[in-house]
């Protein structure tokens, strides 16, 4: 079946079997391997992508269901090649990753949170990432990274003098 979708602001057309998940289509057909394959039944959150801005598990969505939707993967978050988004940067600075397997899913989930809540409480952050499993770093530094990014993003719009205080 032909499926037309907008991936990271680029219209693409793929021809897939109905049983292919969005996850497999992204990785195999579009070569966007930043979206990680974990449990493949909706438990671990490693394959989280944004569908029309909302976090969705790519392993729990068929590629044919995504026809006409806007998909954002981890490859679509950086502002330019070689750069990182504020949130990605925060994960590096606070050591919010170790093996990195859960990181794309964590970052997209956190990105969606920060899009609708610019001043999330610790509890809201923990709730938002409760569906993303990390098995090495632990959640402390991941939560710290999201708090750090939220603070930076909030201050980015302040006048320079206030930001310096």
């Amino acid at each position: 079946m032909k499926v037309e979708l907008n991936v990271n602001d680029r219209m693409v057309e793929i021809d897939v079997e109905p049983r292919k998940t969005l996850l497999d289509a992204l990785r195999d057909d579009l070569r966007l391997t930043g979206t990680h394959t974990g449990c493949e039944h909706g438990v671990c959150g490693a394959c989280t992508v944004l569908v029309d801005g909302a976090p969705v598990r790519a392993c729990l969505m068929l590629a044919v269901q995504s026809d006409g939707h806007e998909i954002t993967t981890i490859e679509g978050l950086a502002p330019a090649p070689g750069e990182l988004s504020v949130l990605q940067d925060a994960f590096c600075e606070t050591h919010g990753m170790q093996c990195g397997y859960c990181t794309p899913g964590m970052i997209l989930t956190a990105h969606a949170l920060l899009q609708k809540n610019v001043t999330p409480s610790r509890e809201e952050i923990v709730d938002a990432i409760s569906g993303n499993i990390c098995r090495c770093t632990g959640y402390g530094q991941i939560v710290e990274a999201i708090e750090f990014a939220a603070e930076r993003l909030a201050r980015a719009n302040e006048p320079r003098a206030a930001a310096a205080e």
Binding site: R19, H41, V64, G131
Partner: protein
């Protein structure tokens, strides 16, 4: 690719869905797919045809109809969670929605899908049974209205025929000083509940309970309503409440499984049910206070 092969079709009306269901014995409806897709991946489900109803406009609505709120079956759980009408008219559903899965599964999962799937520990079926909601089914051109307590037969088993399409759920809207309580326990946040309880009550101007409903999930193989008629008509008495809830839960048949023993489920349900009613009472009292 893990699932067995199947065909996929996206009809644009419920009539077409019903025609496809009638012609294809092995067809399954897919809406959000948050339970069905893992079942396909594990090959526990092997339909030959998937009928995607997620984009059918008549299945995506939230509207008042007399003294009921009607929610179209393909309404996403995330949409329902953000709906001011659900928060206002069916506050018990509003309270239960954040407990369903995780935010990423709620962005895809639907209200009707959760009802049709009939997991014994699922939140929306519990709310439907507690509030005496009505489930609306279409078979061909015929419409059937099934009370929620008759709809759920057992674990993943419902009164819906294989050729039926669940189109909406009708939830009663209560008036007056209404309060709700929702409680759940699971191994991890958002996991399947070992036991859960939903309560809604309203208070008369003197603070006496005028109406009260309670339901528990995860204990039997389907959500069940517990009659608390004996505590209605009076102000809340914790002792009488506990006794009434205990006798209701005592009569339930719980199953032991890998996750929790039957005794644990009943003990947890008792505690959660009392907490849910107390929470509902305290919310209703606050509502009564603001109305004064």
């Amino acid at each position: 690719m893990k699932p067995a092969p199947f065909d996929y079709i996206r009809p644009d009306t419920v009539s077409n869905v019903c025609a496809l269901l009638a012609d294809n014995f092995d067809a399954r409806i897919i809406a959000g797919g948050q339970t069905l897709i893992p079942m396909l991946a594990m090959r526990l489900a092997r339909p030959t045809l998937l009928i995607d109803v997620a984009r059918i406009a008549e299945l995506r609505r939230i509207e008042i109809d007399g003294d009921h709120l009607v929610i179209g079956a393909a309404t996403r759980q995330a949409e329902a969670e953000a709906s001011p009408d659900i928060a206002r008219y069916v506050p018990l559903l509003h309270a239960a929605l954040p407990w369903i899965g995780h935010a990423p599964t709620r962005s895809r999962g639907t209200v009707g899908g959760s009802i049709a799937n009939a997991d014994p520990s699922a939140e929306i079926p519990l709310v439907a049974v507690t509030l005496r909601a009505e489930i609306i089914l279409r078979e061909g051109e015929d419409e059937f209205i099934v009370p929620a307590e008759d709809f759920f037969i057992g674990a993943m088993v419902t009164a819906a025929a294989p050729e039926a399409c669940l189109t909406a759920v009708r939830l009663p809207v209560w008036n007056g000083a209404v309060g709700v309580g929702f409680q759940e326990i699971s191994a991890r946040r958002s996991d399947f509940a070992f036991a859960s309880a939903a309560a809604q009550l309203s208070l008369d101007p003197e603070g006496r309970i005028s109406r009260i409903v309670l339901g528990v999930g995860g204990v039997e193989d389907r959500p069940v309503a517990i009659d608390l008629g004996e505590v209605a008509g009076e102000v809340l008495d914790r002792r009488r409440l506990s006794d009434a809830v205990a006798s209701g839960i005592e009569a339930l048949h719980a199953e032991t499984d890998l996750h929790a023993s039957a005794a644990y489920r009943k003990r947890a349900a008792l505690d959660l049910a009392v907490k849910a009613v107390v929470q509902a009472h305290s919310n209703a009292s606050a509502a009564l206070e603001t109305r004064r």
